[in-house]
């Protein structure tokens, strides 16, 4: 069994703050997790949860206060391993006096490619991220979305085994997001391991094999997007339409709400068949019956809500 692409053990980061730097602020607390070889792993959490801190620790941009991290079987501090890693920083910013072609060529040089190889790779990447016509424009004239695309291009330019993307959809319009999703899926199909952070939950649900939810600097759960929140349905949703002459029973009318040309109502699993029977008798046409499962968003909000409640309780206690 191959070694995990990423593994962290008790990874923690504290920042000193205050006038004399005597106080400590914990950004990440005891993170222990693994990203398996070849999987797409999403790091989810609200802003300030510790996602970027985790990624910066992995990339050696900041250093851990405690714990350790390994990537591709080697300690994260080993810079030579960066040959096999691609990294897109959050809100990437590059030398704005260079054109996209020049900045990609600059990054390609660190991988030791020949001039011909560099030219070929740069053109291929520009095409892949939809910038082939903007390659000769200085980056200072680029929009945020275009910079994000350059960032993605430089991250995958050298065909890395492991790709780490910090908020890859940030600043992109719907077309751009779709294109980035396609690139991630393409990388996945090519057998690459991908770790990306996001707070856009549908993206994570759509792309990830597994997700890890971080809130308040702590890992709150890891698993497949469906299983992390539990597979048990919390209820059933019925969509139905009603003929002009039909009238709804009082109980159903109280629960149903208008939805487009029809109605929508939520019931528990036990109430489903009696409700369907009542609707049949009333002459309603059932258009859809679906399970209601808690979404990743619900799970996410619950965690954030708990944290805020806890923080408020601590504050009240302190007072």
């Amino acid at each position: 069994m191959p070694a995990p692409a990423i593994e962290t053990e008790n990874l923690s980061k504290e920042y000193p703050h205050g006038f004399l730097h005597l106080k400590k602020k914990t950004s990440l607390e005891g993170l222990t997790m693994q990203v398996e070889d070849g999987e797409v792993f999403g790091l989810l959490g609200p802003n300030g949860a510790g996602k970027s801190t985790t990624i910066k620790l992995l990339m050696g941009i900041i250093f851990p206060t405690a714990g350790s991290a390994r990537m591709l079987g080697k300690p994260a501090s080993e810079v030579s391993m960066h040959r096999d890693i691609g990294y897109l920083p959050e809100q990437p910013y590059f030398y704005d006096y260079l054109t996209a072609t020049e900045v990609l060529d600059y990054f390609a040089r660190f991988h030791g490619y020949s001039a011909a190889e560099r030219a070929e790779r740069v053109q291929k990447m520009l095409k892949k991220v939809g910038l082939e016509t903007a390659g000769k424009i200085q980056l200072r004239k680029y929009s945020k979305g275009m910079l994000q695309r350059v960032g993605l291009a430089q991250a995958i330019l050298h065909d890395p085994k492991l790709v780490i993307l910090d908020e890859p959809m940030s600043g992109l319009d719907p077309v751009g997001r779709r294109e980035v999703r396609d690139v991630i899926l393409e990388l996945k199909n090519a057998g690459k391991t991908i770790l990306f952070s996001t707070h856009i939950l549908p993206d994570a649900e759509m792309l990830c094999d597994r997700v890890g939810v971080i809130a308040g600097g702590r890992l709150r759960g890891v698993g497949a997007p469906g299983t992390i929140v539990g597979v048990k349905a919390t209820g059933m949703e019925i969509l139905f339409e009603l003929g002009e002459s039909a009238t709804l029973p009082e109980r159903i009318r109280a629960q149903a709400a208008r939805s487009g040309t029809g109605y929508r109502m939520s019931v528990t699993e036990n109430e489903l068949y009696p409700a369907l029977e009542e609707l049949r008798v009333a002459g309603a046409r059932i258009t859809s019956v679906t399970q209601i499962k808690p979404t990743l968003e619900d799970f996410f909000m619950e965690l954030v809500g708990k944290d805020r409640a806890q923080a408020a309780a601590v504050e009240v206690g302190a007072q």
């Binding site: 691609g86 897109l88 920083p89 910013y93 660190f110």
Partner: protein, 258 residues
Amino acid sequence: MSRVLIVARNTFREAVRDRVLYNLVFFAFLMMASAVIVGQISMDIETVVMISLGLSAISLIGLLIAVFTGVGLVSKEIDKRTLHAVLAKPLQRWEFLIGKFAGLAVTLAVNTAAMAAGLFLALWLVKHSIARGDVVVLVAVYFILLKLMLVVALAMLFSCFTSPLLAILFTGGLYLAGLFVSELRVLQLTNLTPQMQKFFKVISYVLPNFGNYDVMGAAAHGRGVAGTLILHNTLYALLYCAIVLSAAAVIFSRKDLK
């Protein structure tokens, strides 16, 4: 080594595109105006005035670039976060630092060489000849360049652990202090305690000795400069830069970037 050169090349390109070399236009105007004015008010001291003025301008312009650009070499990359993508490549932090230093050193060398050429052109306009003794002007220019390397190294060191403003102040302060190192070494401190005397002695050897790099008077008056001084100044600059850059690399290698 090749990775250091990649960073150095890009640093030079950055300086060119950020119009750092535009100062040459100012220098050219200064030299042309000086040649015209000095040519008119001459009392057989036109060469001395031209050389003094030219070398002072080369030194001052170089110092401004060395301090301000030197401090910005690392701090700008940290502030703008351009460093994040760069350090994700197979590049050690010390390689990045040395590459940045080398890039600015080349920029300063090109800039200083161009200004020196301008100075010789102005001299030719004033004297209508270039004498063999004028070679000492080249030595003075070389010393200015060595001095600028030291200043860049110090600016980079300070920018690794403090804010750009403080780094500029520290570098400027150390430069000024370094001009008087020779005086400090011979200063009679008999009214101080032996410990304090020892402390000042040590300080006088730790501070960079910029005074040794000033041979403007000798150059202006056509006096020669001893070969041993050239060798001593070259080795001193190399060693001092190596020590300062090593310290900068140690600090930078452990620095959390924002």
